[in-house]
Symmetry: C2
Subunit: 339 residues, 2 copies
Amino acid sequence: MAKDLPTLEDVARMSGVSTATVSRALNAPKRVRPETLARITDAVAQLGYTPHFGGRALASNRTFTVGAVIPTMENAIFARGLQALQEQLSAQGVTLLVSTSNYDPDEEAAQVRALLGRGVDGMVLIGEARDAQVYTLLERRGVPFVLVWTWRPDCPWPCVGFDNAEAARAMAQQVLDLGHRRIAMIAGITRGNDRAAARVDGVRGALDAHGLSLPADRLVESDYSLEAGAEAARRLLAQTPRPTVILCGNDVLAAGAYAAIRDAGLSVPADISVTGFDDIDLAHVLSPGLTTVHVPHRRMGEAAARMLLAMGADGAAPDGVALQTGIVRRGSLAAPPPG
Amino acid sequence: MAKDLPTLEDVARMSGVSTATVSRALNAPKRVRPETLARITDAVAQLGYTPHFGGRALASNRTFTVGAVIPTMENAIFARGLQALQEQLSAQGVTLLVSTSNYDPDEEAAQVRALLGRGVDGMVLIGEARDAQVYTLLERRGVPFVLVWTWRPDCPWPCVGFDNAEAARAMAQQVLDLGHRRIAMIAGITRGNDRAAARVDGVRGALDAHGLSLPADRLVESDYSLEAGAEAARRLLAQTPRPTVILCGNDVLAAGAYAAIRDAGLSVPADISVTGFDDIDLAHVLSPGLTTVHVPHRRMGEAAARMLLAMGADGAAPDGVALQTGIVRRGSLAAPPPG
DNA sequence: CGCAGCCATGCAAGCGCTTACATTCACCAC
DNA sequence: GTGGTGAATGTAAGCGCTTGCATGGCTGCG
């Protein structure tokens, strides 16, 4: 397929040194004399040489690649963090390989295997809940990994994220403070998704503390898609009495809820309040703006990159990093309507 | 970094055959006797063997990888097509490597080089406008590539997409038919972006045909972001007389325009109509729903995958594929307000 | 029964690169 | 002057896999 490319040896011949020296010139420039380096650099440029990836991987047993498996690219939730991750990594000459699991644990495991097969030097995974086999596999191969989008005090693996439960609790608290009592929630599918589950727990916690509860019919689990969110909201809106607020497990669900509410001829927040989670761009495009939990996407990505690179360098298992979230108040949350 | 993994040789030893046979068992199962195959398969399973990627790449000079460089992952524009591309490819055992250029031609060239350095067997690029050097490079390396999101009758490279100009023309025509005459446009940055430019051309074409024109102050170029779109819209709204419709170069810009219009205390479509382009999910979450050009994202991705695989197999340069677009009418487009 | 032809398999030569070790040389301290 | 030191470079052995060619056994046909 690919045509014959110049090799290290071609460069070596052209610059009158051995391949070893060329290799060193490329990987550790200070270990060759400046003049030699210059000659080699010239030759490289003239030949348009690029190191052969496979050869390098084979000889050095490193690929300068890290993999990330995210649930989906269909919405922008992971985009910003990934972008930051990629920027940090490529500043160190490391390439990021992204694949998606579609929120399916088995699919995720398959993708992890695929990435390991490609010899990634490290891996970023979303959340903590997954088959123990995956962790075993990762550890057996000695591939460093970090979990993002989640954090809890005693997580056994290196993770950088935030406390989903606590953030959800805070949001629910705010809703309670405004006087809401008929509170409903559209959560993500909690099976195999610790973030989604933690967010439900957080809301539950806040309600409990007020002597309230989240009955089964006020909690709908839904795929993280606009359509599914709308459908879930429709179910909630059909109840009598209607909830006065819908807490959504993420902003995409909230956007779906907006659509359903609008279709039902109701308005946000006059008839019903809505809150989201994640604070993606969508949140302030919606009308009214969505009150949501702000997540430090970029910082999470950056921290993950740093941690991974450090683990690769010294093999140490670093401490987790807990980032702060905050609530962004926008127009979608108001006091409940009278009555 | 990675621990010692079982190698082909381990498998060979365990199943009492040569490495050559194991290799064949893995790559061309029908070329080994069924019983031998069975023994090898067992050994593979028992050892948890996975082929070493670098070794394979080195020996076979193929990586079973194709690369795609897209402008951004920050919005969902390319997500669906990419998803389809990936699905098709991985059904053939090919991995997709995605990287982003942030709409910067130089950055794109750099990413192309990086992917070539990794020895991709093929490449998917967005649009046609880019430095000739990039094409030269690609051709010199003999790496098959296909251009997506664009199509025109005499494009010299294999492309699968649609006629951006024609689609934009149709949209403008529709707007004209409704009686709009003060027509403004928020386009993407046209430099280095043939799709953005073609969309402007299309609109121009429709206006010309009606003896109208798109004066400089009615055309704003903007980054493809919500914020930038809003800012561009603000500029247009400040004009007197105000345009009665804003044609946007994509849905994200339109969403930004919505925000600006709302902030100005105006309403869509009563005071001003808005149209988009791409038909991403966002388009029907917006309120009112966004009238936009529907693009066959998935089919584009699938066709690109097929084409690339075919090119890899027989080396032939296939014909381009032209897909149809269509206009999706939603609430954002109405007749201009009286006066 | 012998030989052409085929199938299943083994042998061994790399693919392009890194790196431990060896070599060379200049320089310095004594 | 001599031995020690360290910097710059070369030598060559692989890394794990694929694949052209060689081998040997078997089938089938004349």
